[in-house]
Symmetry: C2
Subunit: 404 residues, 2 copies
Amino acid sequence: MSWKLAQRADKMNPSVIREILKVTEKPGIISFAGGLPSPQTFPVDAMLEATQKVLTQDGRSALQYAASEGYGPLRDWVAHDLKKQGMDVSADQVLITTGSQQGLDLVAKILIDAGSRILVETPTYLGALQAYTPMEPTVVSVASDDEGVDAADLRIQAGSGADAARFVYLLPNFQNPTGRTMTEARRAAVAAVAAEVGLPVIEDNPYGDLWFDAPPPASLASRNPDGTLYLGSFSKILAPGLRLGYLVAPKALYPKLLQAKQAADLHTPSFNQRIVSEVLKDGFIDRHVPTIRALYKSQCEAMLAALEREFGHTGHGGGDHSLQWNRPAGGMFLWTRLPAGLDAVKLLPKAVDHNVAFVPGSAFYADNADPRSMRLSFVTASVSQINIGIAALAQTIREAQAAL
Amino acid sequence: MSWKLAQRADKMNPSVIREILKVTEKPGIISFAGGLPSPQTFPVDAMLEATQKVLTQDGRSALQYAASEGYGPLRDWVAHDLKKQGMDVSADQVLITTGSQQGLDLVAKILIDAGSRILVETPTYLGALQAYTPMEPTVVSVASDDEGVDAADLRIQAGSGADAARFVYLLPNFQNPTGRTMTEARRAAVAAVAAEVGLPVIEDNPYGDLWFDAPPPASLASRNPDGTLYLGSFSKILAPGLRLGYLVAPKALYPKLLQAKQAADLHTPSFNQRIVSEVLKDGFIDRHVPTIRALYKSQCEAMLAALEREFGHTGHGGGDHSLQWNRPAGGMFLWTRLPAGLDAVKLLPKAVDHNVAFVPGSAFYADNADPRSMRLSFVTASVSQINIGIAALAQTIREAQAAL
């Protein structure tokens, strides 16, 4: 039988992380690899109560086909919540998506032609690269540092005329994979460049609510609403298994995104939207999210303390022959750099032998990957597992250095 | 701000049906327009019980990220159910999708290049056209009659070499929009042509379980498993608001479909999959589906009887100056042809004035639409509404004929 694949299918690849996670599926392993929120934080009781209410009071509507835009009260909630954060959003700009991953797929469909240049941070979220790849863009990495993309390089890469980049994709808060946050000054500079050269911004914010001590600076969308398409998610503040996210689009873009959404899956499950809308009533999030913040902060601090204990410095000491790491102000991830001479991909199987796992950072680069980089999630393992796991990782590194 | 849309976005259009449904959203209207399953058939109590069980027993797993392939026990159930229908399917060929609409989107992504020829029935399912359009195919309508596509024309349109069609998209059972079913002889002929010329088949089967008196003939996939990609859905046998469908792929295609799925939304909501898997335990479907069949059969019979009463024949009598209609053996739709001189698009506002609505059939043609065709759904309205609605429709038609 002559199944002929589309050209774009050749460019699609299995997720590197997915393959890595298979390696790490070993009983008893302590995994810092996956990006799984702590299941402790899932509001099971609230979900149970909301589901009963939804099915009992209006079950048949919750189980019927529904509008592609999303459930009205949930769209209202999103608009209201973003307004509290300083964004000028009306509910008719909100499109409920089947997880924010779908938002990235819709963005790709309406904005990327084969060969279009799109700009990303260095490194960037792997799932976004996967969502964009089927539409066959040329992905360009913008120079980045601990504060995010470099505004000067962004201006250079933006290009102009027929060669102008279609957009820059940014994750300003507690970025996946690095855990870094764009400072206020950097946001101002990036927003100014984008506005000046007319470069559209895709702002992805799944982690913004997970701050430890203070909320991050105002979003890019709040600085340039017509030039920013903003993506949010309920995966990290409620639960990812619901697959509920949203995008907020400038009014000129909304109709095309809606058509793409309708063609993609008609609408996001009405059942899930109504349940979450019920859960969100009466300020639930304002009581719930602080408990996630406190948990993740304690886990992050435990990992930082364990690293300090093992390596004898606070992250950037110890020179090129020690592990280096950053100190996130929120989110789920910590970014590290192995000592000179080591390679994270080669180190992984040795770490697995020591019953600990991570994701090599090279998975997150569109090009010119740093082979020494490594992503550690601090939210899936408990504090005692973190202590054991970091000790095992340090032992693996010491052994690998001794063998150099 | 310079948002530049992808070329494919120009080809995307708002759903005609969606626009029509807006016209028909008038209080008190009797609608034969939408394709909404009867909410009476939604198993609210079973859903309530299953949700409680899932959340109480393993709620945290149900709310966590999950495998892109789908929930294991649900994939097993699908494979087992299809085996009972004579298909040779293993669970590792089953990919759970966010509604079967998503299956169409994934098919488009991995099989359609810009300009690829794809073949469809005349008329065909509008949602499939919408899912395929963003990948910019050339859509070719194959000549069709009351039994589905014509095998001889299929052979001609299949083409060969670089011009070979990528696939033919078929809906053999109680098709949307026509309600027609491919006979055994036609299936054999179509499967033989497809195998002979190496033409891949996309077989869409959302309605197959909704037969009135006898199950439809065996699927095309059962005749040519390696040459057929099969799509199924829980929307019509449980509830559409869950957005749960599946596709069954030849093993050679599965990995690419899985990569496309992962990029599209990571995975179908694990919450929904586990609940449905719980509902399906212990033969629930075998008790539930017969109640849907009986209800839809009674509604279809009521509509046929009302049409006979109003127009004085059984569907194909009365000549070119009377309404013509078919007699479906299952599903949700009945296909009609207006008397000579009338146009369904022009008739619709007059029908709405008489408090009844339908979908003009022209929405369902890739090209050369029949302006006299009209789709009537018999499952959303009650029997007494059907009687009133068909009388109003007949009155509308008589008035329009008198004004010719």
